[in-house]
């Protein structure tokens, strides 16, 4: 196992771990923003907006993430959108965009559930007190919805961390690719992939425990 951590280029630790971490945080932030907007589309009183939201969710949920990643990776430059002048940076940005949009579809479904679970009386009271629709969403419906959806969003975050491994296929030097590089140079696959597995567990197990703790805490409050 020692060779992995002493390996000259520090592929895995700390570089690979750091890239995985950056990918996860950026993609999670993106998916929360996009997902919330799509969820608002899905509950909006305007029918075409609801169609757009529904189409987004179904399209991104029912196709493989790998296909989406490659679509952004190869497709955006062909459509004339260059993400960055530097090739490695543009791989990274394509991965962030792909991961964010894919998970945004799941986030949207969860947030929508949270929005619909808010008591109708709250909405009616807010409107009759003179709040505009936007104000009601902003101050009444969203804050209450977010409280209820924190644990399921934690599950999405765990899935997202695991899914960052797919970025290796479009040439982002994160954990899995670091492991593959070390394996291809040393042929010590057990150590190399064992170390990758341990580093992933190092990220996902604490998150899992955190989500379980949150779930229990929310149960008590209710």
């Amino acid at each position: 196992m020692g060779i992995v951590f002493e390996f000259p280029d520090y592929y895995l630790f700390p570089n690979g771990l750091w890239v995985t971490f950056q990918l996860s945080v950026l993609a999670l932030a993106g998916s929360l923003v996009v997902g919330t907007v799509v969820a608002l589309f899905r509950v909006s009183p305007v029918t075409p907006l609801r169609w757009v939201g529904g189409g987004f969710v179904e399209a991104f949920r029912n196709t493989p993430l790998l296909v989406q990643l490659f679509f952004f990776f190869f497709g955006l430059p062909l459509l004339g959108i260059r993400l960055s002048a530097e090739p490695l940076e543009s791989n990274f940005r394509a991965a962030v965009i792909g991961l964010a949009l894919y998970h945004a579809a799941y986030v949207a479904e969860i947030v929508r559930g949270g929005l619909l679970a808010v008591d109708k009386g709250q909405i009616e009271a807010a409107r009759s007190l003179g709040l505009s629709y936007v104000g009601m969403i902003r101050y009444i419906q969203l804050p209450q919805a977010f409280r209820a959806v924190v644990p399921p969003l934690g599950n999405i975050a765990i899935a997202l961390v695991k899914n960052t491994s797919l970025a290796a296929t479009i040439g982002v030097s994160e954990l899995l690719q670091g492991g593959e590089l070390i394996e291809s140079r040393t042929f010590r696959s057990v150590e190399a992939f064992g170390a990758v597995a341990i580093l992933y567990l190092f990220l996902t197990i604490p998150m899992g425990l955190g989500v379980n703790w949150l779930e229990r805490r929310m149960l008590v409050v209710r």
């Binding site: 491994s165 992933y200 197990i205």
Partner: protein, 243 residues
């Protein structure tokens, strides 16, 4: 501007090529879900066992594997799979990549399915076990003929939802060089340099299959498992919904 390549996707030869890829994807999915169902049943029963030396390894396996990316397992079996079977099949055994992919996929899916099955078993009223034991059935008999038939029937929609996840995950097996639907598109677009068209085409195929299956599982769900179980399953699946 690039030349328009949409005409490729009505060419019968190319469509046949994609069809072969689709068949391989379906084969991969069925092989993985069958294999993982068998192991999932064992791990679920093991985790419910009262013997700690049976329960603890099962908990470790289920929680450990669920916390790992499935692509890592697939890549690992692709490289190391042959060596693992050398003690059984002899020194010159080489694991076909198809089966390396199936192993990686089913190792992951068996952990997820085990949790689904366990949730199903736990959702049954305790009276079912107690009554069957009181009638003189052994633990194994009551599991086999009373508990499991009811639990598995409750879990059919959840398992179908898991099948759509597996179908999406088979695209990962394409990255280790197994010919399947994603790989067939990869071959087409690396030769014709039309990734947008080729990926859009297979995305539509994946969408049709997965959307139909998920609608079907939603239809089946009506009036089945109790509410708490459905919530528990939904949470499980969020965490394990991969690619």
């Amino acid at each position: 501007m690039r030349p328009d390549t949409w005409h490729l996707f009505v060419d019968p030869a190319i469509l046949k090529f994609f069809g072969e890829g689709l068949l391989a994807t379906i084969g991969l999915s069925i092989a993985s879900i069958a294999l993982s169902f068998v192991f999932a049943l064992l791990f679920a029963l093991g985790r419910l066992s009262t013997r700690w030396w049976l329960r603890l390894p099962c908990i470790g396996y289920i929680e450990g594997i669920r916390a790992l990316p499935v692509l890592l397992l697939i890549v690992y079996f692709n490289i190391k799979g042959s060596a693992l079977f050398v003690p059984i099949f002899g020194a010159d055994f080489e694991l076909p990549r198809f089966w390396a992919g199936v192993l990686g996929l089913s190792m992951y899916t068996s952990a997820v399915l085990a949790e689904i099955i366990r949730a199903g078993i736990l959702s049954l009223p305790r009276g079912q076990t107690e009554a069957s034991r009181a009638l003189g059935l052994s633990y194994a008999q009551s599991m086999r003929s009373v508990i499991l038939p009811q639990a598995l029937r409750l879990m059919v929609p959840a398992m179908m939802a898991q099948l759509t996840t597996i179908i999406k995950d088979t695209s990962l097996v394409g990255t280790i060089g197994v010919f399947e639907l994603y790989r067939s598109a990869w071959i087409i677009f690396t030769q014709n340099f039309n990734p947008i068209e080729a990926l859009f085409f297979i995305a539509v195929v994946y969408f049709v299959i997965c959307f139909t299956l998920s609608q079907l599982s939603r239809r089946l769900e009506v009036g089945r498992a109790p509410r708490e179980v459905r919530i528990k399953i939904a949470e499980l699946q969020l965490r394990d919904q991969v690619a």
